[in-house]
Subunit: 212 residues, 2 copies
DNA sequence: CCCGTACGTTCCGTTTACGGAACAGCAGTG
DNA sequence: CACTGCTGTTCCGTAAACGGAACGTACGGG
């Protein structure tokens, strides 16, 4: 997952899914832009010129003292060659962990989720599944090896899934992501079956530091 | 044009997400916001109030006559419960559909395929999208760089997709895979919209030369 | 009928993000 | 030692995004 190079004390995901409070964390965005720029060895002036924005604008943006316009931010990310979402702190789901009465996840009960493997990468870096979760008590999955990330994209129904002690909820269209090194659960919320896509991502054997 | 040291070989992501010199297409963003809002049955006034923005702001945003501030856009998407990227997601790649019946420009543009990026790996080894393909003539996507593999898992409808000269067909539940180094197409078979999951798998960057 | 309430759009004064220019700091060169 | 060229920041007038209020419209009840 995209860890921000910024000193951001807490996951932006959390900040983003919170709505009461407030800011889209412009300072973190600025830091990300600056990191991207410096990673390419481009000067602020040069980037500003290439992107067609003022140096003042870019400077202010990188320092988080401005609340950039979408147009401005796009011009810069486009010039950097990254999608807009890359600097927005690709967030977790909008839907949150709270709410949702903690349903009694009966384990060992009738298997209510069907997993269909559709592809396994030759590198074994990821596996793609198509998942169906029937209404009912839900299902518990044991911990995987460290470093494994699960991505679920919900297509129909409402899915409650994630770490057993803090599951997340996503409606159709939502996306959930967690590291699966702890026991985790899947359950359909409501009476409708859930269909979803499940991507398991394994760490590469040679994976450690960021490469340059 | 004074090129910077890097001609733009970086993030492979951008290839698909969008290029061109165009703008971030505020009208499309507005349409997406409006669609999300109407899907929830919330009125413009109500959403504006809940999100703490002016009705004028939201109205202007939905109609694409304003260039929203990040803060504003965040307040709205947060209230809608979707990540920022959900409304920024650029609809399908470049060369647009052939004669898609533009329709009488009702609000909510007529797009034939909607691609929603749900996650991008920091390694840029894969990108996960949620895809919707509307019935109609379909859509052509240009070739990507060599070594890119596309996986599509169909959840609803019947999808015809693959290399432009030899597309494949998959019903709901099916899975398609091809290397996307040639132009390829997406089209819904029949009258029903197709929903699917799209996984783009990129070769590891060390397979294709220096990153700068 | 007429009022109340809701809708979305438009008007308008205020706030603020914008780019150009001017600024200070640093490195290499004649 | 200026001089040039670059870095990133700050100043400032202008353009535009902002929220609140007023507008026109549509529906339902008294």
């Amino acid at each position: 997952m995209p860890q921000s190079p910024s000193p951001g004390p807490q996951p932006i995901a959390a900040a983003l899914s919170r709505q009461g409070g407030a800011d889209p964390d412009t300072t973190a965005i600025g830091s990300r832009v600056r990191a991207l720029r410096e990673a390419r060895g481009i000067s602020l002036s040069a980037l500003a010129r290439q992107a067609g924005v003022g140096k003042a604008t870019l400077s202010g943006l990188e320092n988080g003292v401005r609340n950039p316009t979408l147009e401005t931010l796009y011009a810069i990310t486009a010039q950097l060659g990254v999608p807009l979402a890359a600097v927005l702190a690709e967030p977790a789901p909008g839907p949150t962990t709270d709410g949702m009465p903690a349903g009694p996840t009966v384990r060992g009960a009738a298997v209510s989720a069907t997993l269909l493997e559709v592809f396994e990468d030759t590198d074994a870096t990821y596996e793609l599944y198509r998942m169906r979760v029937a209404p009912g008590p839900g299902q518990l999955s044991p911990a995987h090896q460290a470093g494994v990330t699960e991505h679920v994209t919900v297509f129909a129904g409402v899915l409650r899934a994630g770490p057993a002690d803090a599951p997340l909820t996503a409606p159709a269209g939502g996306h959930l992501r967690w590291t699966s090194d702890v026991p985790h659960v899947y359950a359909a919320v409501g009476d409708d079956e859930v269909t979803a896509s499940l991507l398991l991502r394994y760490p590469r054997s040679d994976e450690q530091g960021p490469r340059r």
